[in-house]
Symmetry: C2
Subunit: 247 residues, 2 copies
């Protein structure tokens, strides 16, 4: 925050774009603190809320942001559809031009079924949200405890406290092992679907810029586990058993 | 073609982008003739084939094009999904960056159900395509005849011959009438779904650049009728009856 403040003071009226929660390690940013810095320096503030919409109660009448972005598949909606919220008072130029759709802000025939699917999925995701947060956090906490007990040398990347990190994501740093190079593949064929980082970087060479940013050592494997209201204790136990066999 | 040739000679190595068929009046361009001009002047050639994919047999091994574009909803596929074909030998820069999806050519989580829907719809559209062309052309020809007989002063925009124009689109220029300003609305409430031009310009002020280009007089109403394998003679008769009442 201190660094952001210096940057904003040095570059007033610029655009600040900071995620609400990081997609790889789940760390939550304090949106209100960022808003204050933005407003004090006449900056615009965009927050990528893709990890948090449908997972936390977000009320834009209490958020002082200019833009937020959303993607449906993060809350069990269809893949390939999302939205951007823009403060009505601001005017922006389209990136995709050539047609008058969406008030000329985005040319191209709209993905109608996707939009309807997103809306319905968000409606369902926002039902009994506090209960969902509580229940999934219990599963995540259990997973952290069991993993720590059963696989010695396991560390966690990012803030794993319920206040500081997403209840839906856990980034695990595993001790060096001979099987590391095929770990994700082995988990996959055993029915454990996890990722080595961000899907946006799948197929990309080199390590994650997030892990590099937090000085994660290169010789340890990283696995991102995700939890939802559909995740069961049995699934957690199974995943840990498979992981233990593979390490 | 003569004008295109002059332009290409004046600007070698540029990009020629010409539709296979016009979306408003249905006129077909000669792709092979354009290719020859493009190649003779080291130009790249993109053809918007959105009106023709799934409606005509298109075999890219016989087409000398660099890029074509496609949209699924034009052949009864889902809305909001399409594709671009690019000659493998060419490298292009992405418009949407930030993620490694689609070999970094288009960032963002893919619209998976849309892609599957497009594929299936195109497969169905390409089945018995010659029979479909023949049958729908019969409906269109019948519509042209009936309209000419029943509404005096009707003209047609673009090439309405089976060789020169889409069998799926008919752009009708109606005689001036007092009810012109609400014509599309009146047709709509009577269950006749047509358009006044391109959907890309719906809500836009001013007349179509295509109609302006062919010197269409401002005091006549323009209605674009579309035909498909699902259109029946009864529907055609009904549409003409309603239109006659309204004019």
């Amino acid at each position: 925050m201190q660094n952001l403040k210096s940057l904003a003071e040095k570059h007033p009226s610029s655009l600040i774009s900071l995620m609400h929660a990081n997609n790889e390690i789940g760390s939550l940013n304090d949106v209100h603190a960022i808003s204050q810095i933005a407003r004090a320096n006449q900056c615009y503030f965009h927050s990528d809320t893709i990890q948090t919409i449908g997972h936390y109660p977000i009320d834009l009448s209490n958020w002082d942001v200019d833009f937020i972005t959303c993607s449906a598949h993060k809350f069990h909606g269809p893949k390939g559809v999302g939205f951007m919220y823009k403060n009505k008072a601001l005017k922006i130029s389209p990136m995709l031009t050539g047609g008058g759709q969406e008030s000329t802000l985005r040319a191209g025939t709209e993905n109608v079924t996707g939009i309807i699917g997103l809306t319905k999925a968000l409606e369902i995701a926002n039902e009994e949200i506090q209960e969902k947060i509580k229940n999934v956090q219990v599963i995540k906490t259990y997973f952290i405890e069991q993993l720590g007990k059963k696989i010695k040398g396991t560390c966690f990347n990012g803030d794993i406290s319920p206040e500081g990190g997403l209840y839906t994501v856990l980034n695990v740093s595993l001790p060096p092992s001979k099987k590391s190079s095929t770990l994700l593949f082995q988990l996959d064929i055993n029915g454990v679907f996890v990722s080595g980082g961000s899907a946006c970087n799948s197929g990309a060479m080199g390590s994650s810029h997030v892990l590099t940013g937090i000085n994660h050592p290169d010789n340890r494997s990283v696995v991102r586990f995700s939890f939802s209201k559909y995740t069961t204790t049995e699934e957690v136990d199974y995943a840990i058993d498979i992981l233990k066999e593979l390490i």
